[in-house]
């Protein structure tokens, strides 16, 4: 018999005992982020299942980057709580980080290292085998640029290296913040291939973009405007 002290147990679906539903991959609850006195995100609540590809749309300054950075644990929520991959958003940052890749506006590369050296360094600090570095660069069309310094790369080539880094890491959760910005069509297709391959493997992807031509791979679209998050009609 269910205990009165556990009200959720009274509401539980008896089928849950047979086939438990997996916990959502991403579940921020009433998350608010304030910069100074300006709220960038207001009471955002979201539930993304494992294996889902979700698109977050919204104009510039809507709070998309803030939402993704909070999920990536790059920013702390001012108020609110939540979990990512079953770990607490604030207390278990290191565990979330070990399984999450965040690809933002900037590629986070070192100009004076080559593409291969950048990826090898990323492998070392993420504790993954660097054996696939060359193959990852080949997949994004940079096999011949592997030994060139990042300083000589265009924005599109930099983004390809960042995509190769995400491929190497094979994260449980992939967060992409405006990944198509400044890219040509070929490079945008490389990003789409990353999203598709991540989704095919049953891993979770959240993409924030205001590029109306992209995001066809997403199963669900959310809209952020003025810091408020809601499902797209």
């Amino acid at each position: 018999m269910a205990s009165v002290a556990d009200p959720n147990a009274l509401l539980a679906d008896p089928r849950d005992d047979v086939e438990p539903r997996p916990a959502p991959a991403v579940r921020p609850r009433n998350v608010t982020r304030v910069f100074g006195v300006s709220p960038a995100l207001v009471r955002a609540t979201l539930s993304v299942d494992r294996g889902e590809i979700v698109l977050v749309r919204g104009p510039n300054g809507a709070g998309k980057s803030t939402l993704l950075r909070i999920i990536a644990t790059a920013l702390s929520p001012t108020y609110g709580s939540g979990s990512v991959l079953g770990f607490d958003l604030v207390r278990d940052r290191q565990r979330i980080r070990a399984a999450t890749e965040f690809l933002g506006h900037r590629s986070r590369l070192y100009d004076d290292l080559t593409a291969e050296e950048n990826l090898r360094f990323a492998c070392r600090i993420h504790r993954i085998d660097g054996i696939g570095v060359r193959a990852a660069l080949a997949r994004v069309g940079l096999a011949r640029g592997a030994n060139d310094r990042i300083r000589t790369f265009s924005q599109g080539m930099r983004q390809r290296v960042a995509v190769a880094r995400a491929m190497l890491r094979r994260p449980e959760l992939l967060l992409l913040d405006e990944p198509y910005a400044g890219l040509d069509e070929e490079a945008k297709d490389v990003v789409d291939e990353l999203i598709a391959s991540t989704g095919r493997d049953g891993r979770t992807v959240i993409v924030a973009t205001h590029d109306p031509a992209r995001g066809r791979l997403a199963g669900r679209t959310l809209v952020l405007n003025g810091g408020l998050l809601h499902e797209a009609p």
């Binding site: 565990r95 290292l113 050296e117 360094f121």
Partner: protein
């Protein structure tokens, strides 16, 4: 062991960047050389005065040059938001502090060797018999400077007026290194290295405090 391995990875990365770009060397070495030559010329040809002032001028040149080194050490992290990559990596953030401090240390020691050569040639400073004490003073002083610079370098990156804030934070804190380094160097070059023990101990204490402080608080400085 993991902390040391991660620190070594960060240090190797920083040294490779410096070796390729020579950003710090290109700015720091000419700066230190200019300071020493200009002071040497302005003090005149009196050998005794030159030798008495040489240790202080040497350490002043090292201190000002180190400020440039610290800024450069973080520039590569800021240019393409690479510091966020280190923050989001599942490593102890103390490894970033220790790795950056180690890389800055290596660069500064190379600069100090060159500056010492300039001072020995221009000021007629004798470094032969006091070499062990001199080496200890420079290694200990450099560790302390690197720890302070690497700790406050990251604070500086988030400051709006970063160019002016950094020297204001670092220079007053580095005063004990300057005093201990100058006194130990003076005694070593005067052939009284055996009396430099207390000044070397001051440098050891400074190193312990700032390496420990950096290891403990660096994580909270880079985290939001």
């Amino acid at each position: 062991m993991t902390l040391l391995r991660d620190s070594a990875a960060v240090a190797a990365k920083d040294l490779r960047i410096e070796f390729r770009g020579r950003h710090a060397t290109a700015a720091v070495l000419p700066f230190a050389a200019t300071v020493l030559v200009v002071f040497g010329l302005s003090l005149g040809p009196g050998r005794t005065l030159l030798q008495q002032t040489a240790p202080a001028l040497l350490w002043l040149a090292v201190l000002f040059a180190s400020v440039l080194s610290f800024r450069q050490a973080y520039q590569s992290e800021v240019d393409d938001e690479a510091l966020l990559g280190l923050t989001l990596a599942p490593i102890d953030k103390a490894a970033v502090f220790l790795g950056k401090a180690a890389a800055v240390c290596v660069g500064l020691l190379a600069l100090e060797a060159a500056a010492l050569g300039i001072v020995a040639a221009l000021f007629g400073l004798s470094v032969g018999h006091g070499a062990p004490v001199l080496a200890a003073a420079f290694v200990l002083g450099t560790v302390g400077l690197a720890a302070v610079g690497s700790l406050f370098g990251v604070v500086n990156e988030s400051a709006r007026a970063r160019e002016s804030v950094f020297p204001l934070l670092v220079l007053p804190l580095a005063t004990p290194v300057l005093i201990g380094g100058v006194r130990a160097t003076s005694l070593a070059t005067a052939g009284r290295g055996a009396e430099a023990g207390s000044w070397l101990l001051l440098l050891v204490a400074f190193d312990l405090v700032f390496v420990a402080a950096g290891t403990l608080v660096f994580g909270s400085l880079v985290e939001d």
